[in-house]
């Protein structure tokens, strides 16, 4: 039997406000344990929470960016459970009236756009950190109370690759909004996955597994790939699936069982009486909406329209906000009529420089004006494309002006016909067989002769002129 995969993701985002969700403690990573705390985030008796205005603002931005319906009436609830990283033994979260519902995001699946539903985006607070020792656990509350957003997707993802693409797209949008660092390795973005398999075409969902402990997008994908094959094997051998939570073991490349479902947890949610409700009206939404930056999808469409880019090329350029801005600045500065030339430089040589250095395009140490002057020299045929690529590498390495590098490397292209004529005469004299072949109509011979001239000129000869000169000389 063939099976299809059903995946839903739960993403937790730390918002990068200056202060925590319910108190004025600065959000400041890397401090000694329990030094970024106050009576409120420690949940000391008698203390009360007051929500951060900027956190609400950020949250609404995110919800709007994913086309969610913002709920007019929303409120905080308490999620009650005992755990030492939770100072009040309840988490302030949202239950039946979340900030927003029914959003979506577009990904590309099998070369076609696919809509991934977003069930809800709601507000909550982060817990502290535990360090487990042999006979005790140590608690640090510095992280406690950092504002979080929980973004829950519909089970619309049908492969590990789609899950990966969804996360990449989500991160890109949030980065554009500049409201979270979205760094999975540092924990500012966390992702749990629900995955189940069902016979192809079936309506009902299969028994699901909840996956935790992934700390990179690749980790999420790898864990899902592992689960697809593990669950497929179980199903094909007619073994019973149990609903369970499994942890991704990145070193072992496998998932291991954490706990079987011991009956649904009873969190005893109820409205938090310490916090007033929110009424988010249309003027407030409109105000935040009008201040939203251009988002990746809009930018992509505009790049395609304004700069005649292919969707593919535009997609590469807009995936990071910094790269999109860098690219657009370069394209606008470029005076040539065919913007495609600049785009080819960006997604060709520049992107490969960035990749080999493991940085983003816009993080390359390269002055835009130097890039423009380099491209200009190639167009004026003062330097060959081959040489230009090596100048680009050196310019990024040394941050010297391209003119200086060309001079130092003696890389100017030879277009002087007298000089070239001399080299051609030598080459003709040394390669009589090829000359004969050419005269007999073998066009490959011309290529060979041009190549020989290039060799003798150390790559500096202008190949087009050389080709013309040989043609004229031998016909």
């Amino acid at each position: 039997m063939k099976y299809e995969t059903v995946i839903g993701l739960e993403v937790h985002l730390q918002l990068k406000t200056k202060t925590k969700a319910f108190c004025g403690c600065a959000i400041d990573f890397g401090q000694p344990p329990n030094s970024n705390v106050c009576p409120v985030c420690l949940g000391f008796p008698g203390t009360l929470p007051v929500y951060n205005k900027e956190a609400l603002n950020y949250a609404i931005k995110v919800a709007l960016a994913f086309d969610c319906q913002i709920q007019e009436h929303t409120k905080f609830d308490r999620k009650n459970y005992f755990y030492p990283d939770l100072p009040k033994n309840y988490q302030i979260s949202q239950y039946d009236l979340p900030l927003s519902r029914q959003g979506h995001m577009m990904i590309t699946s099998k070369d076609a756009p696919k809509r991934i539903g977003i069930t809800r985006i709601h507000l909550e607070e982060d817990a502290g950190k535990l360090i487990h020792e042999a006979d005790a656990s140590l608690v640090d509350f510095n992280r406690t109370g950092i504002p979080l957003l929980e973004i829950v997707s519909e089970p619309d993802l049908s492969s590990p690759q789609e899950a990966f693409d969804y996360l990449t797209g989500l991160k890109s949008i949030v980065e554009y909004l500049d409201v979270s660092d979205c760094d999975m390795e540092k924990g500012s973005l966390r992702c749990d996955a629900n995955i189940s398999l069902r016979p192809e075409g079936a309506k009902e969902l299969g028994v699901k597994t909840e996956l935790k402990n992934m700390n990179s997008f690749k980790g999420v994908k790898d864990a899902l790939v592992f689960e697809v094959s593990r669950q497929t094997e179980l199903l094909q051998s007619n073994q019973a699936m149990v609903q369970e939570t499994r942890l991704w073991d990145a070193d072992g490349g496998r998932t291991i069982v954490m706990r079987s479902k011991e009956g649904a947890k009873d969190y005893r949610y109820f409205p938090d009486p310490d916090l007033a409700v929110f009424i988010i009206d249309q003027p407030m939404i409109a105000k935040i909406k009008s201040a939203l930056p251009e988002l990746p999808q809009e930018k992509l469409r505009r790049f395609v329209r304004d700069y005649s880019l292919t969707e593919y090329d535009a997609g590469i350029l807009v995936s990071s906000k910094g790269d999109a801005e860098f690219s657009e600045a370069c394209i606008q500065k470029y005076q040539g009529h065919d913007k495609k030339i600049m785009v080819n430089w960006l997604i060709g040589p520049l992107l490969s420089e960035a990749n080999s250095r493991k940085v983003k395009l816009h993080e390359l140490k390269l002055d835009k004006n130097e890039l423009l002057s380099l491209i200009g020299l190639v167009e004026k045929q003062e330097i060959s494309l081959l040489s230009a690529k090596s100048v680009l590498t050196q310019a990024i390495d040394t941050q010297k002006p391209v003119q200086v590098l060309i001079k130092e490397g003696n890389l100017s292209q030879i277009s002087n016909t007298d000089l070239l004529q001399q080299i051609i005469e030598t080459v003709i004299a040394e390669n009589t067989k090829s000359v004969d072949d050419f005269k007999a109509g073998k066009t490959n011979a011309l290529m060979f002769l041009v190549g020989q001239v290039m060799k003798k000129s150390a790559g500096k000869a202008n190949p087009k002129i050389v080709s013309d000169l040989i043609n004229r000389r031998l016909s």
């Binding site: 008796p45 008698g46 309840y90 009486p273 310490d274």
Partner: protein, 478 residues
């Protein structure tokens, strides 16, 4: 001459202003009184029998040099705040409650001894204190009421000039009634709850317990007002409440809810209250019977909402960051043992009841239903206040009961709050003032309720009544 400890705050302020007395002489007379009577009354906790300096406050202000007694559930920086519970043993909050900051800024002296209470304010008799029961100054065999029983008994026995209590379902008014003093539960949102160790967050308010209405008005004026640290405090100007003490209640429309004059009411209480209502009429007020039809549901609704909130509010007492911790080699046992040993019987009962009301499968039938009935109770009051200026009722169905009389029957104890609970559910203000004594010599309180944020009405009516009677001047013989 009267001893200084017997005076009201406004009397002391006058004497201090006239430089007739020194600040030291006030605390000396208080400590002398405490030394003499507190071994019998036990209004104060952690009393080591020696005079201690008050907390440091501003050198000037409206209440300069007047000492004030604080209930043990209001946080005082550097001073033990234990809610009279073993589980908060040794807890020294690193912060002041907002009301304490306001009092310090007004120059008041925060008395170093704190007042006894039912553990976490769970009770109506102060018998549920980890430190043992407080006695009623009018009859040591009776309870002072609760949960602010220590505050009310201290004021009644002249062991305090005045005091702060907290009221979740009657915890200021009922002990004020039982001890023959004045107690005010302000409108929900009028006084900041920051630093009040929460029992039920949607019902709790801090308020004054005083020897007369003028003191209540002065103290309410100091502690009221918006606090940016409390999302449920209201940003609304605080009027000068002492301006309401003008004695004029002519033409005021007073509603007398018929539902408060049935079920289990002591006939003696009934006649005292009727006399008090007649007194108000003789002062020019019009009274008329009204109906608050959902009154009978107030106690059940309260015991769902209050315990549900409490079960969550008290989850933080787990032995991790502060207070008592039981010895155990694993976390879950540590939690369970700490809470088993740290909480008293009533606390456990309420935490379990509240946990049940919120738990899966019962939420809709209990908690959600209670929230809806709360709406009906609130609407009852809105309707009456559309036509009436205030509502007058007894504060309690009986005078103070005997120590031990209701401890074996929690339900009977819960029903002693039957007249005070609706006020908290509706969020409105109410005051209890002395209005007579039973033949056995126990005080009875008259409760006046008003619309939200109309504390001025309470002071106006209470003061007019007080000034035409002498009940507040009678002192217990100790």
């Amino acid at each position: 001459m009267m001893d200084l400890n017997q005076l009201t705050a406004h009397e002391l302020l006058n004497k201090l202003k006239a430089k007739e007395i020194s600040p030291e002489s006030i605390s000396e007379s208080l400590y002398a009184r405490i030394h003499k009577v507190d071994p019998k009354i036990k209004a104060y906790v952690r009393n080591k029998g020696q005079q201690e300096a008050p907390l440091k406050s501003q050198p000037n202000g409206l209440l300069k040099d007047v000492p004030i007694t604080i209930k043990d559930n209001i946080c005082t920086e550097g001073l033990s705040t234990e809610c009279c519970s073993k589980i908060l043993e040794g807890f020294h909050p690193p912060y002041d409650a907002t009301v304490i900051s306001k009092l310090k800024n007004s120059g008041a002296q925060i008395f170093s001894l704190k007042a006894n209470m039912d553990e976490f304010a769970f009770g109506s008799s102060t018998e549920n204190s980890y430190f043992g029961a407080t006695a009623n100054p009018w009859n040591l065999g009776h309870v002072p009421g609760g949960s602010s029983g220590g505050s009310a008994a201290a004021v009644a026995a002249d062991e305090a000039i005045w005091a702060l209590g907290s009221d979740t379902g009657g915890s200021i008014r009922q002990p004020a009634s039982f001890c023959g003093v004045v107690g005010l539960k302000p409108t929900y949102g009028r006084v900041s709850r920051f630093g009040l160790i929460a029992f039920a967050s949607s019902l709790d308010q801090i308020g004054p317990i005083t020897k007369d209405v003028e003191d209540a008005a002065i103290l309410a004026g100091i502690i009221s007002g918006y606090d940016p640290k409390d999302s449920t405090s209201i940003n609304k100007d605080v009027p000068d409440y002492t301006k309401s003490l003008n004695g004029d209640i002519k033409g005021l429309k007073i509603g007398i809810p018929k539902e408060y004059f049935v079920q289990g009411m002591d006939p003696e209480v009934k006649s005292i209250i009727e006399e008090a209502i007649n007194k108000l009429k003789s002062l020019g007020a019009d009274s008329k019977q009204v109906s608050l039809p959902h009154t009978e549901y107030a106690v059940p609704v309260y015991y769902i909402i209050a315990t549900a909130e409490a079960s969550s509010n008290l989850a933080r007492f787990d032995g991790v960051q502060y207070g008592y911790r039981a010895k155990s080699d694993n976390l879950i046992d540590m939690y369970k043992q700490t809470r088993a040993e740290g909480f008293g019987e009533e606390a456990k009962r309420r935490i379990l009841l509240g946990t049940f009301a919120l738990s899966h499968g019962y939420y809709d039938a209990y908690y959600l239903r209670a929230l809806k009935v709360r709406t009906l109770i609130k609407q009852d009051f809105d309707r009456v206040f559309g036509d009436f200026d205030c509502i007058v009722t007894p504060t309690c169905p009986t005078a103070a009961f005997k120590i031990g009389e209701k401890t074996q029957d929690p339900l009977k104890m819960y029903l002693s709050d039957i007249y005070t609970i609706s006020v908290n559910l509706a969020g409105i203000p109410a005051i209890s003032i002395p209005c007579g004594f039973t033949k056995a010599g126990l005080p009875i309180g008259l409760q006046i309720m008003a619309k939200p944020f109309d504390e001025e009405m309470l002071f106006r009516v209470a003061h007019a009544f007080e000034q035409s009677t002498d009940w507040h001047k009678v002192k217990p013989k100790l």
